[in-house]
């Protein structure tokens, strides 16, 4: 499904604008409007219109793995400014299963989330649960950790589950290989991912309501990446994810692959860098031309008492904060910082789980507003304001 594009400002390259007009098509479940572009870096600020609402990019998407953002209600999430969050196909496919979610009117209905949802394919669990899985051309064979049953997650099965979940953006099932792996396996995985992309496109039962994103693979090999980009950009998908990174590779290799990918991805479709969430990486990768990000880090680290702040992080459970009567960040306007001090939260961690929720709320506010700060920055560089 091609993305509809609206080019509102004149880019520095007139040739581009001409070919872009050709990309305009009839109603699609995704529209990207580039609002501002940085003249120095590849950063851009966009309005990404999806079936449930418009998302302002650059955007950080919090992760609600099992149909909930740990400890946070959908109302809280909405008031924190979140316009899109993630659900996990593997976990939800296991519990409660796609049939029940269909009965509940999709994942939106089940969670009662009125804004956008992005579901991953379940593929990343291949890397993280690799002892339990085996990859073949057909798909990934899992042994369910809940009842020991053998399951095959094929491209068709993944899309079928995601169709049942009804997410606004679905991810293709890709053959994921850790970025630390070298050798022929990387090339094999890249080619297979292309074949699986085609199977995913064919399997999508709701192309007019649900977008499908391709995931660029190729590890840390520039030639493999370019080959993958060349092939995948020929497919009719709404957007592209840059996959196979953020898995422990060297930072210099990491950003090189990111910038290589954005160089070869179409301007008029969104770029989603998967699994990237540390603040520094977010800023760099926005400058390298990425629009969307997700990571469990901010919400997971919150539960350990780690609060994210502009100068790094603050371990609120540490002794030094026992008598610190400032809020986590005096400049933060989130509900936690408006009412509570580090000292109170430090003490509360000994008494109630709500302490985790307070820090989670703060971290989501921080990460989401991070994106908004980046949008403001990007707008400062623009040629004309819309």
């Amino acid at each position: 499904m091609a993305a509809t594009v609206e080019r509102v400002i004149v880019s520095s390259n007139p040739e581009n604008s001409m070919s872009l007009q050709k990309a305009l098509s009839a109603a699609s479940p995704l529209t990207l409007r580039i609002v501002a572009e940085c003249p120095v870096t590849k950063a851009r600020a966009c309005d990404l219109t999806l079936p449930h609402c418009t998302v302002n990019t650059p955007v950080f998407m919090p992760v609600g793995t099992q149909g909930t953002l740990k400890g946070i209600t959908v109302d809280q999430l909405e008031s924190l400014g979140c316009q899109i969050c993630l659900g996990n196909t593997y976990h939800l496919g296991m519990r409660p299963g796609p049939d029940l979610i269909v009965k509940a009117k999709g994942l939106h209905g089940f969670m009662n989330w009125k804004r956008n949802l992005l579901t991953d394919s379940g593929g990343f669990q291949m890397v993280s649960l690799v002892e339990l899985s085996e990859v073949t051309e057909e798909g990934v064979n899992f042994k369910s950790p809940y009842d020991g049953k053998e399951i095959l997650l094929s491209p068709e099965k993944s899309i079928s589950i995601q169709n049942s979940l009804g997410s606004d953006i679905m991810m293709q099932l890709d053959d994921v290989v850790s970025s630390t792996v070298k050798g022929p396996r990387v090339e094999e995985a890249m080619h297979r991912s292309i074949r699986w992309l085609d199977r995913c496109i064919a399997a999508n039962k709701n192309p007019d309501k649900q977008n499908l994103f391709a995931i660029i693979q190729g590890g840390l090999d520039a030639e493999l990446r370019k080959a993958c980009l060349k092939e995948m950009t020929q497919r009719d998908v709404s957007g592209f994810a840059i996959g196979g990174l953020s898995g422990g590779e060297e930072k210099n290799d990491f950003w090189r692959m990111v910038t290589l990918s954005t160089d070869h991805l179409p301007q008029e479709k969104p770029r989603y860098l998967m699994g990237v969430g540390y603040a520094v990486d977010l800023v760099v990768c926005v400058a390298l031309g990425c629009d969307m990000f997700d990571c469990v880090f901010p919400t997971r680290t919150a539960r350990f008492g780690s609060a994210l702040v502009p100068w790094g992080s603050l371990q609120v459970k540490q002794k030094q904060y026992a008598k610190d009567f400032l809020p986590i960040d005096p400049d933060c306007h989130c509900p936690t910082c408006k009412r509570h001090s580090r000292a109170y939260l430090h003490a509360l961690f000994k008494s109630d789980t709500a302490a985790m929720h307070h820090v989670t709320v703060h971290n989501i506010a921080y990460q989401v507003s991070d994106g908004k700060h980046l949008i403001k920055l990007a707008k400062l560089f623009k040629f004309c304001l819309v």
Binding site: G71, A104, N112, Y344
Partner: protein, 417 residues
């Protein structure tokens, strides 16, 4: 504080309002009523945003020294009292000794000290340390130090007598300090009545405590599981006979709806609001009927359905001697049960709380099965709402002579008027 009673039912139950509470005297609390149960000033699982979705929250927030004692140094450095430290605005702060939702070990009280258990272990308190702690906390109202280690069955009469003597001695020491402290000016002190399960000791304790200049009375040592309700009613009645009518009575450690009803009828005004928390912790939702409005037929059908088909691990209604407070009662539904897997109804029809307005049983079931934190948040909201509404029903029943009907509803005994 001033207790204004609008009705006193023969035999004990009272209906009214506790006026002029808080240092500024601007708050009130309807009785019979319950306090807002917290851990260190936070309602379990809830932040301010989620807490505010609950309507008619009690105006009195309860904190306990078992949570607070270990933080004395921090509070002393903070200087401005616990309310400010916890970000509590516009509420009355009541400080009790123990957390009503957990059983403290026995065998630690001495003639001069009692113990509380914090996250780091046991903390011993003398009366002077107790009072120093309270001056740092700066509550609006607190209970006197007390030896309530008599709740276990087979506590000897000798031990019970000692607990009465000690508690009176602690009270006198606390009063001395209280009356001399400017810091505690305008702060109310409740005396604690002990006496285990021995009628004479209960009478003695009540009589003696009533002689002291206290603002009201805590009835201790009668926690759920310590005695059966029949005996509890008798013991309460023996105490209230000795207590002045115009001062409030707070019963500690009792929260089950059937026990609440019986104790209200025996003359109790206030309860600690910990029961919804216990229900939440076992993954259950309160669903018992408390509707005494003119046309109850529809409400009755819906709610009774849950109880009649509730699971096997349910505690039989008659057995009130169960030591284990974590056991599910007949007033709740166990959402982990498979039957709720594809049940798309709200928890309780007509509840109106945030959870019931926005989510379904199937979703709660999923959250519990997957051990998700949101389950606790949503259940706490629902259970608190249901429980608060129940207290509203108790007051309405007292005002309109419908206590018998309410009892029947709560016990699930009727399907028709």
């Amino acid at each position: 504080m001033k207790l204004e009673l609008s009705r006193v039912i023969q035999g004990g139950a009272r209906l009214g309002v506790l006026q002029g509470i808080g240092r500024t005297g601007q708050h009130s609390l309807k009785v019979p009523g319950c306090l807002l149960y917290t851990h260190f000033g936070t309602v379990p699982h809830l932040t301010q945003d989620t807490l505010q979705t609950v309507n008619n929250l009690p105006s009195v927030t309860q904190v306990t020294l078992s949570n607070i004692a270990e933080h004395q140094e921090v509070l002393e450095e903070f200087k401005e009292g616990f309310k400010a430290f916890a970000g509590l605005h516009n509420t009355v702060l009541y400080c009790s000794l123990h957390d009503p939702a957990t059983r403290s070990p026995t065998g630690y009280a001495t003639n001069k000290t009692v113990s509380v258990w914090g996250s780091g272990g046991r903390i011993e308190l003398t009366a002077s340390k107790f009072m120093a702690l309270l001056k740092t906390v700066k509550p609006d109202w607190y209970q006197s130090m007390a030896d309530g280690e008599t709740w276990q069955t087979n506590t000897s009469r000798k031990r019970i007598r000692k607990s009465v003597d000690r508690t009176l001695a602690y009270l006198d020491e606390c009063l001395l300090v209280h009356q001399k402290s400017q810091d505690l000016d305008g702060v109310e002190l409740f005396g604690v009545v002990e006496g285990g399960d021995v009628m004479e000791e209960r009478v003695r304790s009540a009589r003696e405590t009533a002689k002291r200049p206290v603002a009201g009375f805590c009835l201790d040592g009668l926690q759920t599981g310590s005695v059966d309700q029949a005996l509890r009613t008798q013991l309460i009645t023996s105490m209230t006979t000795e207590l002045p009518e115009d001062k409030p009575r707070l019963l500690q450690g009792v929260g089950r709806p059937d026990e609440v009803l019986a104790c209200v009828e025996a003359g109790v005004d206030l309860f600690e609001g910990f029961f919804p928390f216990q229900v939440t912790e076992r993954g259950c939702a309160l669903c018992f009927n408390y509707d005494v409005s003119p046309d109850p037929e529809c409400a009755v059908l819906e709610l009774n359905e849950e109880k009649h088909s509730a699971g096997d691990n349910m505690q039989p209604k008659g057995d009130l001697n169960c030591e284990d407070q974590t056991q599910m009662t007949s007033f709740e539904m166990n959402l982990k049960d498979k039957r709720y897997q594809d049940d798309f109804k709200s928890l309780v029809e007509g509840c109106g709380c945030y959870c019931c307005k926005n989510h379904q049983r199937a979703y709660l079931h999923h959250l519990l099965v997957t051990n998700e934190l949101l389950a606790g948040v949503l259940l706490m909201i629902h259970n608190m709402t249901h429980y608060q509404n129940f207290f509203g029903a108790v007051r309405e029943a007292l005002a309109t002579d419908k206590m018998d009907l309410l009892k029947k509803r709560v016990h699930g005994e009727t399907r028709n008027t």
